[in-house]
């Protein structure tokens, strides 16, 4: 037996121990409905924490933009690779 604690369906990611990560990942709901639910939950968490407040700050919007920048960089990395200055690192 690998884990001392039984994994329940809705333990949070931060409470999962490192060894249980594989089984936890297998337990998650990967149906389209499940994925949509996960996206909705994530969005609601972010929205209610950073944007839906009385005095919202800069961070709420800038984090989204920074995430977009990093994501677009990752997607176009294979194209940017050709601009490298040294061939061997």
């Amino acid at each position: 037996c690998g884990s001392s604690v039984v994994l329940l369906k809705d333990t949070k990611l931060m409470d999962v121990k490192l060894g249980q990560l594989g089984s936890w990942l297998a337990m998650r709901d990967f149906t389209p409905g499940g994925i949509l639910g996960a996206i909705r939950r994530g969005h609601e968490r972010y929205y209610n924490k950073y944007i839906n407040v009385k005095k919202g700050g800069l961070g709420g919007l800038s984090m989204v933009l920074a995430g977009y920048v990093i994501l677009s960089y990752m997607w176009s990395y294979s194209h940017i690779k050709h601009d490298r200055r040294r061939k061997y690192h």
Binding site: V53, K55, G59, D83
Partner: protein
């Protein structure tokens, strides 16, 4: 009812990294931990050229400089403006709510007053009843007076009729008696009475002479 919105959003340091990350690393590495992590990560990315320095980097640097300067300079103004807009919205909504409550309060007051007024209906009805009774009474008395007058007129007529009849009888009888007396004075009696009168006159004149 809907719970009120939280005052401030989650804390974000340097506008990019949430405060939870710093708190997460604080027990193990203290205050400088996340910064060291950031520096090391940056150097690794640069040295392995996972982050390539090209024309886009120069563009990004310029844009970021301008952006940071603009935010530092105009941030508070924009925040104050947005706060003012929010305040106005809240104030107008609150004013509307207060106005509605006020209107309803006055409506309640008016309603209570109307109820109090409705209680006085009995007095109104009493007054009206009295009015009608008085009208009836006046009408009755008027008619009574009329009846009395009419009856009196009839009776007066009868009395006048009787008086007239008696008077006429009296007059007629007097006339008849006079006429019969005058008729009964025969010439014989006339002469006798004239002679008697002359004798009386002589006697009177004698006594008068004597008196003078």
């Amino acid at each position: 009812p809907v719970p009120p919105l939280p005052e401030k959003g989650g804390e974000v340091r340097h506008g990019l990294i949430p405060e939870e990350f710093f708190q997460f690393l604080y027990p193990k590495t203290g205050v400088t931990g996340p910064y060291m992590l950031g520096t090391g990560l940056l150097l690794y990315l640069l040295s392995k050229e996972i982050y390539v320095v090209n024309h886009e980097t120069a563009a990004a640097a310029c844009i970021l400089t301008v952006l940071v300067y603009a935010i530092k300079k105009f941030g508070p103004n924009v925040a104050a403006f947005a706060d003012k807009l929010n305040e106005e919205k809240m104030a107008s909504a609150l004013a509307m709510k207060n106005d509605t409550i006020q209107t309803l309060q006055t409506a309640i007051e008016e309603e209570k007053k109307e109820q109090w007024r409705a209680e006085g209906r009995s007095y109104l009805f009493d007054a009206r009843r009295n009015n009608i009774a008085m009208l009836l009474e006046a009408n009755y008395r008027e008619r009574l007076l009329m009846v009395y007058n009419e009856v009196k007129k009839r009776l007066d007529y009868q009395v006048a009729l009787q008086n007239l009849k008696r008077q006429k009888e009296q007059d007629h009888m007097i006339q008849w008696v006079e006429k019969s007396v005058v008729q009964s004075i025969t010439p014989q009696q006339q002469k006798e009475s004239i002679a008697k009168c002359i004798l009386d006159l002589k006697a009177l004149s004698k006594s008068a002479h004597a008196a003078v």
